[in-house]
Chain length 210, copies 2
């Protein structure tokens, strides 16, 4: 019965393995976020899930590898959402609104991942720090290129597209440091307000992108 | 000759003591910023200055106290600059330009202090974390109150003054994570661009505040 494993079973096993890896990543991001990287052990990550430390080690060779995965997952997760907005093929004005809305929501969904990256960059191995920093720069270049294109078209008003990208990026990233599930503003409102601010900042009349 | 110490000598001694404390703070901020808080010892802080560890301990009882001082110094240093801009008594539009320009420059001057605060908040003692968080909230309230006042006057256009303050605050704070002395943009240019973006974001025509 186990001589030849049907593809469906292998796929299911892969799915379970991927799910377990994601659970480990989520638990680690949660603990690094709440207690700090240096105060968290791989044992604690396993305990939180009812997994053994050995199981965590089998999936992630070291705490530093786990941290590198968290940082990578945060940046690429947000970049994919922004890329998706750009690939919708809408005109520049509505693209700005969709892009900013998705960007803010993606950052808030990955809040712990992003906050851990910003805080713990110095704890990454040098080669991981360089690699993730490259991913981050590529992400900001995507935003800057979009703003430069909109400026060239005369849709946006800005004197330095890259500085505009960093200004908006800072506004969005900063939400990971003050947003609380129990706070006055819910995610939808935060995304709407930052999107409005981005429209005004780029000289697009509010509502123009809707 | 030493029986009664003239006030001038005492004052000079106080100045020297204050200078030494500031040197320790700068060196610690530098090391925490470059290597991370958990990877830095008080010995290393003393060594960097040619001071003994005992001397560092005499001035700051523990590494955690030193961290709390760094966080406090960063937030209050920036708040004082912004407060100064508000106290000039200018009209609302030029106040925005002066305030943003001073705000960005103050954050870049305190780059290491602010970055260490953002990264190492979880390493603060709980009572210090609460106290510094209160200082940070008071600072953002100062910005939000100014934006609310300008909105009530009809000078600024914004739907949520507090969100506008957080948007601008995020943009400015984020500079501490990407600004490099050797980068393409110097401090003056960064301050000018973010100030322009703030003016547009609040619906003030560029140059209107100059």
């Amino acid at each position: 019965m186990t001589q030849t494993q049907p593809a469906a079973i292998l796929t299911f096993r892969d799915e379970v393995a991927a799910l377990k890896r994601q659970r480990i990543l989520d638990a680690a991001a949660d603990l690094f976020y709440s207690h700090g990287y240096s105060n968290t052990t791989l044992d604690a990550v396993g305990e939180q899930l009812g997994f053994s430390k050995a199981f965590v080690y089998t999936n992630y060779g070291s705490k530093q590898q786990l941290l590198a995965e968290i940082c990578t997952h945060g940046v690429t997760g947000v970049h994919e959402e922004v890329r998706h907005a750009l690939d919708l093929g809408l005109e520049t004005r509505p693209t700005l609104t969709v892009l900013m809305d998705r960007y803010v929501n993606a950052v808030l969904e990955h809040q712990k991942y992003i906050a851990v990256y910003v805080r713990e960059e110095k704890s990454l191995l040098p080669e991981d720090a360089v690699r993730v920093s490259g991913l981050r720069r590529a992400f900001f270049a995507t935003i800057a290129d979009f703003i430069a294109k909109g400026t060239a078209e005369g849709v946006f008003q800005t004197t330095d597209p890259h500085m505009a990208a960093l200004t908006l990026g800072g506004a969005v990233t900063w939400t990971t440091f003050w947003y609380r599930d129990t706070g006055r503003l819910d995610r939808k409102t935060i995304a709407r307000e930052i999107t409005r601010n981005a429209n005004r900042m780029l000289g697009v009349s509010p509502g123009g992108g809707a």
